[in-house]
Symmetry: C2
Subunit: 253 residues, 2 copies
Amino acid sequence: MSELAGISVEALRGLPEVTPGFDLGAALADAIDLSDGDVLAISQKVVSKAEGRIVDLDGVEPGSEAIELGTRLDKDPKLVEVVLSESRAVIRTDAERGILITETHHGFICANAGVDASNAPADGSVVLLPADPDRSAREIRAKIAALKGSRPAVVISDSFGRAWRLGQVEVAIGCAGLDPLDDWRGRKDTVGRELTATTIGIADQIASAADLVRDKTSRTPAVRVRGLSRFVRPDDGPGCGGQLRPPGEDLFR
Amino acid sequence: MSELAGISVEALRGLPEVTPGFDLGAALADAIDLSDGDVLAISQKVVSKAEGRIVDLDGVEPGSEAIELGTRLDKDPKLVEVVLSESRAVIRTDAERGILITETHHGFICANAGVDASNAPADGSVVLLPADPDRSAREIRAKIAALKGSRPAVVISDSFGRAWRLGQVEVAIGCAGLDPLDDWRGRKDTVGRELTATTIGIADQIASAADLVRDKTSRTPAVRVRGLSRFVRPDDGPGCGGQLRPPGEDLFR
């Protein structure tokens, strides 16, 4: 029992500052050797910046709900207005600690609808999540295929807080060319009994693995994961949308 | 921008069947080259088995709460009795889908208190979580140090379901020699602004990364992660207990 087999997880160092219109797919295709079975994991912030998903808070006019919520949570009402415009529901608030957890239009449940000021391009502006992260992943994948001929899977991720456990972990918010869930139901365990209720969040685990090699104070958003070709598919597949638990089956809303 | 730097994640193949009393630390020290900066991630099931945390359901006498809950959830009342004995609170039940989510005596919130029949040693028996997974991790680490002289970090993990998202992901339930949380609060982003509320669940992300190279139908519980020495510490550190969100700050109970 001495054989080790596994994966490598490597961050690209020194991506230049990304501004609206930056061709991320072309830059990554140029910088990284990417094969068909690789997974390219990219943190959301640079994807959003390249797509121009930036709002200058100076130009935001907060409505009454944002003013009320901002006052109660001790948050800038302009920021709250942007968060609400990116959300379809407010899930929880905590005035004592200034927490605003919403469900985004995509269906993600996270703090501030993923709207974030850190690493934003200028003081007073905030970065939104991509409008359609699965589409963003497909577009980057297509660009790499067009320029290089290889079709690695692409995962776009963000760090979300969680119920019950401290510490944010990176999760997948978009993907292309990857099976985001690996369904073991019906397969057998080592003694031949059927495994029950075991569906593995592959895309989320890839996002978390990729985050381990990033440095949030430097520019290392792009990570290549090599050795997971069994989860990579030639077509773009279902994306991450199907990873969301249907609200009717969710016991924690 | 072409330099790649990162980690390797490798599973040990072919660990023998683990039975109560099996010296897991010695077996892993013997099988894997482990250096001071490495992290050894081990899935909970083999740790529990080695520690004899196995219950034969035949010998369990369900109490009235277990009989009531078992009937309502269409679950074996003997299994429910074991789950309740491993729990300090029932958090959610769902009769339609037979779901029982509890808070374990350790403070973990998960389905069935982590009690699991898959990969158990014999039909009719179930495997419990280790009584003190941080202690289990410390003991395995100490054994490796005694036999090999190196002090890799040790993470013990299990796969838990989550609120809002489909797919289980592997999380850390015990660790030794690792900083389980990496606190970025107070550090600056790339343009010099202070990062807010960013604490990263390093131990959980390591657990997830390790799970990507496992095969649940074969015996690959032990995974070496190499390249994260910045999170490995000479002393055993705080363990995973401090990773639990204090109930008073938890908005999703």
